[in-house]
Symmetry: C2
Subunit: 452 residues, 2 copies
């Protein structure tokens, strides 16, 4: 007697088989792309000592974290992949070579208020390059190339990698004599896209307490039209006034200059002086990536350069640069927008082999041949009517069936049914394998994401 109603906790994504296949493909593209740039995969525990995860402390994190006792341990589930990386690098400092480049795709946990499209368990896909003491600007310049390759490999075309430099911002606010108000200004300016210029101006004047002149200067600084070149040109007038500003501008120019060599098209890139990201963590280049047709989603791949990865764990500056994709949310949004490519095979198998005689030997051997050709071949094992077997293949959207009855066995051939066209052919085994391979390879040639 069933005694309990099965359910999955709210805020936890659990996919049916077909969308799970799409998710697997998406993760596979990320793994391959990250690996192709020399990032090594890491896998750290989901559970860590709570004291270690919370070394930095901080309000939101502490409220959202899953924390519990087990034995005499004060444990917690990781809420991001950056703190575990910091711990890992500090712990294994002597065993790693720097720059240390790692990717990690893993689940993280945040007990947020459950709401549509927000998850309490979700995948992050992170890459980071960690230096020992210093790290060249070339690392920061390479990041847009990796973002571009990643999203292109997924099938996206209409996206923009927006870049800014935190030194440039800090220097600019120092020039205006606003260093002590920089945090408030950055936080306000960050809302520019959402609330518009006038509201930002009001807040800067009324709440932050800037003069009209300062407010106008900031808005002018942020609002240059005409693309990357015009924006960079507009910054020249501040050169020579502040070392931090000059360094930031020089770094930004290096990042822009390398774009062409890295193969990032100009129309997929923009300098955006409004981007600030986290206030006290990033120190150099910062990145956001937006889908041109879906600005409401916000940034789908963000990150930046930081100076001290692991200051709570090791007395050694470990600068780095990294980006993160919130994979579960991205997948959810892509699904909502109908952007997941449904033409790709999401069936558990490429081909279903139906034994139609009592002895399944021939069917078993056929399955083996198909697997040797790299196909996913499922042997149909049940005693059912022919119609039910075909309906099974249909429901699962398995692209091909191989039927093996007395006639086929006598002729030494296979009947191959293309489930999409309904066409059925009697073929020699080697021809059947070749035909199915060609068909599957055509079906699977598309990308994970399609734009309408």
């Amino acid at each position: 007697m069933a005694s309990i109603k099965p359910r999955t906790l709210s805020g936890f994504m659990e996919l049916l088989p077909a969308p799970q296949q799409q998710m697997e493909r998406l993760m596979d593209v990320l793994r391959k792309t990250y690996a192709s740039y020399g990032f090594t995969p890491l896998d750290t525990p989901v559970i860590e000592d709570a004291q270690i995860l919370l070394a930095k402390g901080g309000g939101e994190t502490e409220k959202q974290i899953y924390r519990f006792q087990k034995g005499d341990g004060d444990l917690a589930l990781r809420f991001d992949l950056t703190v575990p990386l910091a711990k890992y690098v500090a712990m294994h400092y002597g065993e790693l070579s720097f720059p240390f480049r790692r990717y990690q795709i893993g689940k993280v946990y945040r007990g947020e208020r459950a709401q549509r499209g927000r998850f309490r368990e979700f995948y992050q896909a992170d890459i980071d390059v960690i230096g020992d003491g210093k790290l060249d600007i070339l690392c920061e310049a390479e990041i847009p190339a990796i973002i571009y390759e990643t999203f292109t490999a997924l099938g996206l075309k209409r996206f923009c990698i927006r870049v800014n430099n935190r030194r440039l911002l800090s220097g600019f606010y120092e020039i205006l004599g606003l260093s002590d108000k920089a945090s408030d200004v950055l936080r306000t300016v960050d809302k520019l896209d959402k609330v518009g210029k006038d509201v930002v101006a009001d807040i800067l004047r009324d709440d932050v307490g800037l003069t009209d002149a300062q407010t106008q200067e900031i808005l002018a600084f942020l609002s240059v039209e005409g693309g990357t070149d015009a924006t960079l040109a507009s910054l020249e007038k501040y050169v020579g006034k502040n070392e931090t500003f000059d360094l930031g501008l020089s770094e930004l120019k290096t990042v822009v200059r390398c774009l062409a060599d890295f193969g990032v098209p100009a129309d997929h890139f923009a300098v955006d002086l409004t981007i600030a990201r986290g206030l006290d963590y990033y120190t150099g280049t910062v990145y956001e990536t937006t889908l041109l047709d879906h600005p409401e989603i916000g940034s789908v791949c963000s990150g930046g350069r930081y100076d001290n990865l692991a200051e709570y764990y090791i007395d050694r500056p470990l600068p780095g640069v990294g980006i993160s994709i919130g994979l579960t949310r991205l997948f959810y949004v892509l699904g909502e927008q109908g952007m997941l490519n449904d033409a790709l095979v999401t069936a558990p198998a490429d081909v279903l082999i139906l034994p139609m005689t009592e002895d399944p030997g021939a069917a078993i051997r056929a399955a083996k041949l198909l697997r040797q050709a790299g196909l996913r071949a499922q042997l149909y094992t049940e005693q059912k009517k022919f119609k039910q077997k075909m309906s099974y293949a249909d429901k699962l959207a398995i692209p091909y069936c191989v039927l093996l009855g007395e006639d086929e066995l006598a002729a030494g051939k296979w009947s191959v049914k293309d489930m999409r066209s309904g066409e059925q052919q009697l073929l020699a085994p080697e021809d059947a394998v070749a035909a199915i391979c060609a068909g599957i390879s055509a079906l699977d040639s598309g990308s994970v994401i399609t734009e309408k």
Copy 2:
């Protein structure tokens, strides 16, 4: 100032980059092999409602489980992948097609006493085939083929898939009039390998309370020498006495008969009447897999046929058959035994590109060419002395370096250094790419596991 000593909880595996690469390969082989048999990947939450995970109840599980409150939720971390599968199938019963074949490779949590080689967080790699109401014996017959393919693909040669049938055992004990003592007998007999015949005989007589005749009959039943055929022949004398026994024997014979068609060599297979597995869960064929040279490890891949996957969640019989590999422990043991193939590339990249001129443009473009050929190419980004750059490649065991200095740029060629042989060649880019591809493909041709 570092304020906290970084550490990883005991009982949690956290690998350095090189062994992590080996672990990734191992998982990749499992994913590919399982998929090739038409199993679809699933990913269920790590956290579930504790009431649901513990629907079955039971002592050890309840003690070991990680259970905690969050908000008003009574939550727990999954302790295996079978209970989540049962929940999933019951919840999504109407949306799935049966037989439902899924694989899942995921972390599970058991707060066992920490000891060497025992893990509190560990990967299980499971496959299951679930039927709706019934499931053909052909599914049970296919499992040894999947085990054989999996371990062969990993590189193992010296292993044995041991098979038994629970109906056969039940029927046999019914014939002896021992149905009510079957549990005690099975538990005792399970120790035969460890404690030997005499001790088992003593326990059966003194503790379980069998007669001498019964004890002798059981030991004779279990101890037939001469392989699968001799064992099956020895069972014929019980035919016709008990229906359950006859059904079990007929199933066992079907499994054995299909082996040749499935391509499982006779010397990798044995009928072993001492195998019982869990007492109240499995009902038909049961499997264990042992490494011939490491019997002390115990079974590395086990499972069997069950009649009711999800009885606590749904009023519908869902019979199934499944096997599970304890991946983290297997990986640990293989490492201890020196059985992980160190000849495979475990570096983060196949090739490191060293720009030796101020402008990194040529190096960036070279890296792109190498990636287009499917290689993992890392651009070396730091301003360091040549010796330090080479030492970096050496430490990470990156197989190839491409050096691009003034001479190479002038000649339009690349200097390619094979880091194993020390040999350096000046090659046209297309020849360099081809040479590195060939080299990497040779280095990566071995299997994950090697036997000494």
